[in-house]
Amino acid sequence: MGKFSEDYFAFTGKIFDRSKTSEKPEVLKGVRVLDLARVIYGPVVSKWLGLFGAEVIKVEEPEEGDQWRTGTYWAKYWKDSCPYFQSLNPNKCFIGIDLKKPRGKELVLELAKISDVVVESFRAGLVEAWGIGYTVISQVNPKVIYISCSGYGQWGPLRFFPSWDLIAQSMSGVARLTGFPGKETYKLQDYYGDFFPGLLGAMGVMAALNYRERTGKGQYIDMAQAEALMRTMLNWTYMSVVGEDLERTGNVDPSMVPSGIFKTADGRFVAIAIATDNQLSALLKAMGRTELAEDKRFRETFERLKAGNAEELDKVVEEWVFTKTEAELIELAKRHGFPAAPVMDDWRLVNDNWRRERGSVTEFEDEMYGKGIWVASPVALEKTPGRVKRLTKPIGYHNRYILKRLLGLSEKEIKELEKEGVIGYWSNRVGQRPPPYYDIENDPIFNYRDGEKK
C-alpha cells in the first residue's frame, strides 16, 4: 500500500500492453450466440459479444444475405466486400439457411437449442410468425437469453411500424435537436440511431448473462430503438420542470459557458466547453483575461449560463481562438487544464498514433482479406481484452464447419440440404462473393471435414 515508486502511466502502460492481448483469456469463451440480425442495430449486439470471445453464428438467407453486404458508401467495394459490413461483423461465423423452408427452420431451432444467446432484429412479431420466436425457442432452451431488437418494442400500437436508424431518430424526437436555431436540422450521422441502441442491447445481454451466472435463468429482452434514443434526451425533464421546449443550439452546449466549435488561426476547428468555475479560471488565465472572472455576469455558474451572458462570453472566446493555431490551443489547454479538443476527421482518426497505441484502432492481417485498418475494442479491459481475430466471410462459408461440428451432420446430409436449397451460399455478386484472388475451393474451413476421410 501507499505510494509506488513506478510512474502511474508506466504501470498502466504495462497492464494494458496491447502486444500481450492475444495471450490473455476471453470472458465469453464458450458462450454461443445465434445471430439472426441484419444491417447494423442487431449485428452490433453480437459484435460486442464476439469481441469478448463468444462464438457468434450469423444466419443469412442464401444468395441474399444481410442487406448491408451490398449497401456501401458511394458504391465502393473493397476486395468485393462492403467495408462497413466488415467492420460490423468481425469474429463471426457465417451460415446460409433458408428460413422459409421447414427444414431450414428446424436447423435454426437446433442451433438455438445449443446457444446461450439469440439475437434478432426483424419487425416486431415476425420471428413469432415464423415459428422461431421466444415462445418456441424458450420451450426447447429454457436458459436462453433472447433479445429482440425492434424500432418501438414488441407491444404497443406502433409495434409493427417499420424502423431504420433515421426513422427511430424521428419517432424519438432526437431528429429536431441537431443544427443551428432557426436553420435546417441534421440527423445524428453514421447511424447513431443503430449503434447506440445496439450498445444498450449488448449491455442488456451482459446484465442477463450476469443474472444467469447467479441463478441459471435465461430471459427475454425487448430492445426498442426509439426508447434508447429517448434515454439520452434531457428534453423530457426540461419540459416538465421549465415548461418550455429545449430547442437546438447549434454548436453551443447550453449547460456549459463558454462552449462552442471555433475556427482557429490555421483554419482548423477546435471545440472548447467550460463545465466548472475552475475550468473557467484556467481558460481565462490562458487567455490573459482573468479580470472576466470577477465580472458579475460570469463570476457565478448559474449567472454565466443565462442566455445573454453566455453569448457574450462565447464571443470573447471565439475571437481569441481565431488568433491561435490548433496546436497552440491544445498546448494551452494542457498547461492550464481546460477542456479543449481539435475536431478530428476520418483521415486523422485513422492516422492517430494514440488510437493505435490504445488498441481501439488496429492494423492487422486477415487470412482472406489481407492487411487493413479496423476498429477493435472500444473499451480496454486489462485482463480480458476484446479483440478482432478475423474479418467477415462470404455467405455460407461456415456451413460445413458449423453443421458438422455442432449438429453432427454428415457430408451426405449436407449435400442433400444443399440440393434441396435448405442451406446455400453467396451469389456471384459483389458484396457477397469471396475476393477474386482467394482459392475458396481449397479452403479447409469452407470444405470442413471433421475427421472424415480426406
Binding site: 509506488f4 502502460g13 458508401y73 467495408p83 467492420s87 460490423l88 419487425r123 413469432e128 410468425a129 414488441q154 407491444w155 404497443g156 400500437p157 409493427f160 411500424f161 431504420w164 424526437g173 431528429a175 429536431r176 435537436l177 436553420k183 445524428l188 447513431y192 447506440f196 449491455m203 442488456g204 442477463a208 443474472y211 427475454y220 429482452i221 426498442a224 434515454r231 439520452t232 434531457l234 423530457w236 425533464t237 421549465v242 447549434g250 452546449d253 466549435i261 475556427k263 471545440a271 466547453a273 466548472t276 468555475d277 475552475n278 449567472e303 491544445i330 487544464g337 481546460f338 478530428m344 476520418d346 486523422r348 482518426l349 485513422v350 487493413g372 472500444p378 479491459l381 485482463k383 480480458t384
Partner: protein
C-alpha cells in the same frame, strides 16, 4: 400493456392470416405475463456494490446510474462542496437548486461526502472500497493514484475489484499521460472523436458551415454505455474467477471506436469525408424534408423503395433517369441535387398527414407483394419531443416516468432501457441531496465518525 381496439397496421405479408394472428395473440399474452410487474422482479446485479467518484463528468455519473438501474448498490462519493456536475444544466435551469441532468441521472444512488484530500477521508474510502465490487473513477487520470486510493492500492486491498476509469484520453498511452490535465466534456469528446466533422452544410455562410455537434450528449452517453457494458463483462469474469481488473474508457475515442465507420472510410478512401448537409453516404433519400406544414422524414433504403417513393409522389416520370442502382449513392453530389430538388418540390406540396397516410396505404398493399419488388419507402412526421410525449404507444409502454420528490415536486424522466423479462432494469428512486446518505452508508460500511 393493453392493446387498443383499433386494428394494428401490419406491414408484412408474414404478419397476416388467421394462424399468424393467433400466434401473435399467444405472444401478446406471454408478453403481458413476462414483462409486467417490474417492481416485484429480481434484479440482475443486486449483489454488486459500486462506488462512483466523478468530477463534472456525466459519462461517470450516467454509467454509475445505469449500473444502479440493473440493481447494484451505487454510492456516489462527493467532496464536501459537492460534485460541480450539480451545476451543469441548460441555461442554469434547476429544480430545488439541482441541475436537471444531475437530477435525471441520479438513479438509485446513495450520496455521501468524503474529503479525499484528507487522510481520514482516504481511510474511509479504502474501507468502503474493500467491501465494494466496482469503482468508477471519472476524475483526472492519476489523481486517485497520487492520493494512494487508485487501482494499484485498491486492488491490493480487494483483488476482486473492477476499477473503471473514464477520462478523455484514457489512463494509459503516452498521450494519456501528456494530456491528463485536460478535463472531459461531451462537446470536446465529440470533437476528438471526429463526430462533428460529419455534420453540417458546407455551403452555408459562416459560422453555419462549421462542423456541427450532435444536439444530445452523444459522446457522454456512448461512453457511459460502453463503460457499463465493459463493467458487466468484467464482472462476469470476476464471478467465474474471482479476479478483478481495470477497465478503461476514453471518451475522446469511444464514439468513433464503437461506430467504426469513420475508420473504415479513412482507411479505404485515404481522405476525410466532407459534410453533405441532408445527404447520407450510403442511402438516398434518407433525411428530413419540408412538407407544407412541417418536417417529414423520408427513408428509402433499397432501390425498390426508391421506386415506390416515386409512385407515391406521382413522379414516375423520373424513374428512367435513375435507372442505375448506384446512381443515388454516387459521389456525384451535384447530380444527386437535381433529384433532391425534384423531391423537395413534390414533398412541399403536401401536408405531413397526407404524405404519411399515402405511404402507409402504399406499404400495406406492397407488403402483400411476394417478391418485395414494390418496395417499402417510409415517410413519417419528424416529431418534436412534445409530439412524442403525446404518442399513446409510449404511455402504454411506460417509456416515461413521472417522479415525485418531497422537496422537488414532480418531474419526468425517461425509463430504463432495455425492457427485460426476468431481471429488468428500473428506477427505484431519484434523490440527490449532498451527503444525504452519510448516516446509512457510514454505518453500513463501518466508516469513521464524521
Amino acid at each position: 400493456m393493453k392493446e387498443t381496439s383499433e386494428k394494428p397496421l401490419v406491414f408484412s405479408k408474414h404478419l397476416t392470416g388467421k394462424a399468424t394472428l393467433e400466434h401473435l395473440t399467444r405472444f401478446d399474452k406471454l408478453l403481458t405475463e413476462m414483462m409486467g410487474s417490474v417492481e416485484e422482479k429480481p434484479e440482475a446485479i443486486d449483489d454488486i456494490t459500486v462506488v462512483e467518484v466523478s468530477q463534472a463528468n456525466f459519462a461517470g455519473i450516467i454509467a454509475a446510474g445505469m449500473l444502479g438501474e440493473f440493481g447494484a448498490e451505487v454510492i456516489k462519493v462527493e467532496p464536501p462542496e459537492g460534485d460541480p456536475a450539480r451545476k451543469i444544466t441548460p441555461y442554469g435551469q434547476r429544480l430545488n437548486g439541482i441541475g436537471l441532468p444531475f437530477l435525471m441521472e441520479s438513479r438509485n444512488k446513495y450520496h455521501i461526502t468524503l474529503d479525499l484530500n484528507s487522510a481520514e477521508g482516504q481511510d474511509n474510502f479504502r474501507k468502503l472500497v474493500s467491501k465494494a465490487d466496482v469503482v468508477i473513477d471519472a476524475v483526472k487520470p492519476g489523481l486517485m493514484d497520487s492520493l494512494e486510493i487508485g487501482y494499484r492500492q485498491l486492488s491490493q486491498l480487494n483483488p476482486g475489484l473492477v476499477y473503471v476509469a473514464i477520462s478523455p484520453y484514457g489512463h494509459y498511452t503516452s498521450k494519456a499521460k501528456e494530456l491528463c490535465n485536460i478535463p472531459d466534456t461531451d462537446l470536446t469528446a465529440q470533437a476528438a472523436s471526429g463526430y462533428p466533422s460529419l455534420t453540417g452544410n458546407p455551403e452555408a455562410p459562416d459560422p453555419y458551415n462549421y462542423p456541427v455537434k450532435a444536439g444530445i450528449w452523444a459522446a457522454w452517453y456512448m461512453s457511459a454505455a460502453l463503460a457499463v457494458a465493459g463493467t458487466l463483462t468484467a464482472l462476469l469474469h470476476k464471478r467465474r474467477t474471482g479476479e478483478g481488473q481495470m477497465v478503461d474508457v476514453a471518451t475522446n475515442d469511444a464514439t468513433s471506436a464503437w461506430q467504426g465507420f469513420q475508420i473504415v472510410w479513412g482507411f479505404t478512401m485515404e481522405k476525410p469525408r466532407v459534410r453533405v448537409g441532408n445527404f447520407d453516404w450510403c442511402l438516398f433519400p434518407y433525411g428530413y424534408y419540408e412538407a407544407k406544414d412541417g418536417y417529414v422524414t423520408v427513408a428509402s433504403v433499397l432501390d425498390a423503395d426508391f421506386r415506390g417513393l416515386l409512385k407515391i409522389l406521382g413522379r414516375w416520370d423520373l424513374e428512367n433517369d435513375w435507372r442505375f442502382l448506384f446512381d443515388r449513392i454516387t459521389d456525384d453530389v451535384e447530380k444527386l441535387k437535381t433529384l433532391e430538388a425534384e423531391l423537395k418540390k413534390e414533398l412541399a406540396k403536401h401536408a405531413r398527414k397526407e404524405l404519411v397516410s399515402k405511404t402507409l396505404s402504399y406499404s400495406a398493399k406492397a407488403a402483400r407483394d411476394r417478391l418485395r419488388s414494390k418496395g417499402f419507402p417510409i415517410i413519417i412526421e419528424t416529431r418534436s419531443p412534445r409530439e412524442v410525449l403525446e404518442e399513446k404507444h409510449w404511455q402504454i409502454r411506460k417509456t416515461f416516468l413521472e417522479m415525485n420528490l418531497p422537496v422537488c415536486g414532480k418531474f419526468m424522466i425517461p425509463a430504463s432501457v432495455p425492457k427485460m423479462s426476468e431481471s429488468p432494469p428500473r428506477v427505484k428512486w431519484i434523490k440527490c441531496g449532498l451527503g444525504e446518505d452519510n448516516e446509512y452508508v457510514y454505518k453500513k460500511y463501518g466508516l469513521g465518525e464524521k
